[in-house]
Symmetry: C3
Subunit: 316 residues, 3 copies
Amino acid sequence: MKNFISVKDVTDIPGLVKEALELKKNPYAFKKLGENKTIGLIFLNPSLRTRISTQKAAKNLGMDTIVMNMDKEGWALETQDGVIMNHNTVEHIREAAAVMGQYCDIIGVRSFPRLVDKNEDYSEDFFNKFIKYAGVPIVSLESATLHPLQSLADLITIEETKTKPRPKVVLTWAPHIKALPQAVANSFSEWMCKADVEFVITHPEGYDLANEFTNGARIEYNQDKALEDADYVYVKNWSSYEDYGKVHSMDSHWMMTNEKLKLTNNAKVMHCLPVRRGIELADEILDGPNSLVIQEASNRVWSAQAVLKRMLEAQG
Amino acid sequence: MKNFISVKDVTDIPGLVKEALELKKNPYAFKKLGENKTIGLIFLNPSLRTRISTQKAAKNLGMDTIVMNMDKEGWALETQDGVIMNHNTVEHIREAAAVMGQYCDIIGVRSFPRLVDKNEDYSEDFFNKFIKYAGVPIVSLESATLHPLQSLADLITIEETKTKPRPKVVLTWAPHIKALPQAVANSFSEWMCKADVEFVITHPEGYDLANEFTNGARIEYNQDKALEDADYVYVKNWSSYEDYGKVHSMDSHWMMTNEKLKLTNNAKVMHCLPVRRGIELADEILDGPNSLVIQEASNRVWSAQAVLKRMLEAQG
Amino acid sequence: MKNFISVKDVTDIPGLVKEALELKKNPYAFKKLGENKTIGLIFLNPSLRTRISTQKAAKNLGMDTIVMNMDKEGWALETQDGVIMNHNTVEHIREAAAVMGQYCDIIGVRSFPRLVDKNEDYSEDFFNKFIKYAGVPIVSLESATLHPLQSLADLITIEETKTKPRPKVVLTWAPHIKALPQAVANSFSEWMCKADVEFVITHPEGYDLANEFTNGARIEYNQDKALEDADYVYVKNWSSYEDYGKVHSMDSHWMMTNEKLKLTNNAKVMHCLPVRRGIELADEILDGPNSLVIQEASNRVWSAQAVLKRMLEAQG
């Protein structure tokens, strides 16, 4: 594996999930693999779970981690070419990425969308340029449009809990008080479309995700209908893709509750966290037996570790 | 040892002090004990000494450290149950603590009091909930009401410098320009009341500490009288407990000076640092032969290491 | 080597450069040397390259690193003696440095000039006091007036790329939109005056550097004349030393371009980064074959590693 930006970087999804579950059983089996190797984690936006799980995954593989909180440590990066840098940006991504590539064997990058200009965000300009200039493998810690380490952790969680070969998985939109990126939803959809599951997406009209990520999924605007016989319900808010970055609805009827769970096949409930209690998900679900949210968070370690292991192996 | 929140978590105080002093002589003797174990250090409030000394103690035991500056990394936590999270808090302590518990074998937490509502602060709600939901041992890096790693370091310092079996130890209030928590004073008192010392607390009227922590101490409002024949003088400011969080006095006569030292048995002077020179303590003491403040700070490492060692041993 | 604050701390410059180049070939040869040793990196000002390269150098030598961002972690230090600390400073450098010295075997410190009072900045009061009170070796991560780890990396870069025994090296002032310290220029000059090169400094009138650092260099106010037959051109902005901290010129004619390169002996172009494209240096140079800027940044690791190795060896 050269880079890990999208599900497209994975040639063998079931194999990667299997590898992650083996690492979970035996976390330190490959501690020699990353010896004297450094992963740099670059955060243009804040991170908690992603930083810690990736740091732990790297450590389990014997790697050192260097963290750069660019948002706080004050290095505003220029990404446009041919610009006279007489304003706020203090370093060009050409130098920043190339220098990091000198210090690190693998680089993880997190960069959220601005949610202002759809073309800007969906071009993934920042990631593409970082890959171009860094010269070392790049792993996404969440980009403007995707969050593949989260999706892999989600798939691992489904794999280790499923009770039938081809479960029904429903991704449902949920209300939120802020305008959130589509990245987690896009990414989950992209992975589920390639996984051995029956996959349905449900959301209010006006919240359709970009077709490039939902191709193959069934879209159902009636949440009740979508939830019928679901084995897994993945709850997530996102802002509108069509009316880009806007919040059209805060309809609290879309919040998952025990009442709604009755429509399902006693479905397990998933969420990437952090979750707004009483807005996205009812307390009764989060505190009840159907919630998988802590297990999902826990599996972030094995998701990251499986990906880093493959990258290290590819480097030789 | 399961948790380390108060002196009550220690069954054998002299044994723990002895163990710390043995670790000081031989810091790397237990480097295998913490292999592949992670301590997470969560700071709701800033820290310098506590972070570094705990990080070093963990490293000496072979553990990895992951630091989370929640105040800066922006995860405002909700602690109330049943709340609809439609305001500033982005994650509930139920999820935050449980997730951290998945990534860490031991968690250190620092959370200062707001000094607004006595009941809120003295309930130690945040710590109690963190312990409840994390599912792994919790070590206090200073809570609203106590700072046990500091107090243990103080006791270690007394133990290694005392010249008589049962020295006289005086905790004296000192002026400060800000309203400070009672945590260090509460904690020192709690530990001294259980140590083999003659313990006196002196402060202006209106500055009495909570009885639950001073039970067994002699309270003396006349500083000169309290200092008589003292072997150790522990200097510390705190805001009023009765008139909660308020500053009644900045009376500079309470500042420790060489003149006041004459009343003592050439007492050693202690302070947890950071110290305001010329306000809490005179330069002449800090720069003179009676000061133990640097030694105390140094002993923070062995205090933390003894506690972490016992926690690791209890985990097996 | 006890401290590393200036070129004056190095008795054998060619030997140190040779050692750095050997470490570059064999980075992990001395991994036992720093075992159970800790380097503290204290930043009064932000850092990216310096922090990461030093952290990596320390790791290569088997050391642990503890980072303290004092600017963000909120410990405003008092440096004046005899002060009553009733204002913003919360800890005196006497305690802060002494405590750090208890936790660390070597301390790296970065502290920029305020650019307000020449005497204050050029006295290097902060560094001198830190050295005095810490009691352990101090390595400069850039002080008010010097940046020796950068200069050593620059000299390493020249050594590994030079095609003649005594190349001509030109330090040229470049425009910038902000008032920058003289530290990089002072330091580069100080090192070049002791290296086996022909050294020329060129800048607009009014930008003369302090004589103590340029003693032995040829000063030439005509940039074109200075660049003639240059083998290396080191580009850097600095604010006025005479009219202290002021910006007199933003004359864009001083920016290095391919046109100007024609005056040189196909010179290699250097810059310490971060660089303002289109202001200090033209894109065509940074993206062209003559730029050494990424190699310089990369060599920061070996510069730091050679220095730390010598410090560890001196500690025994």
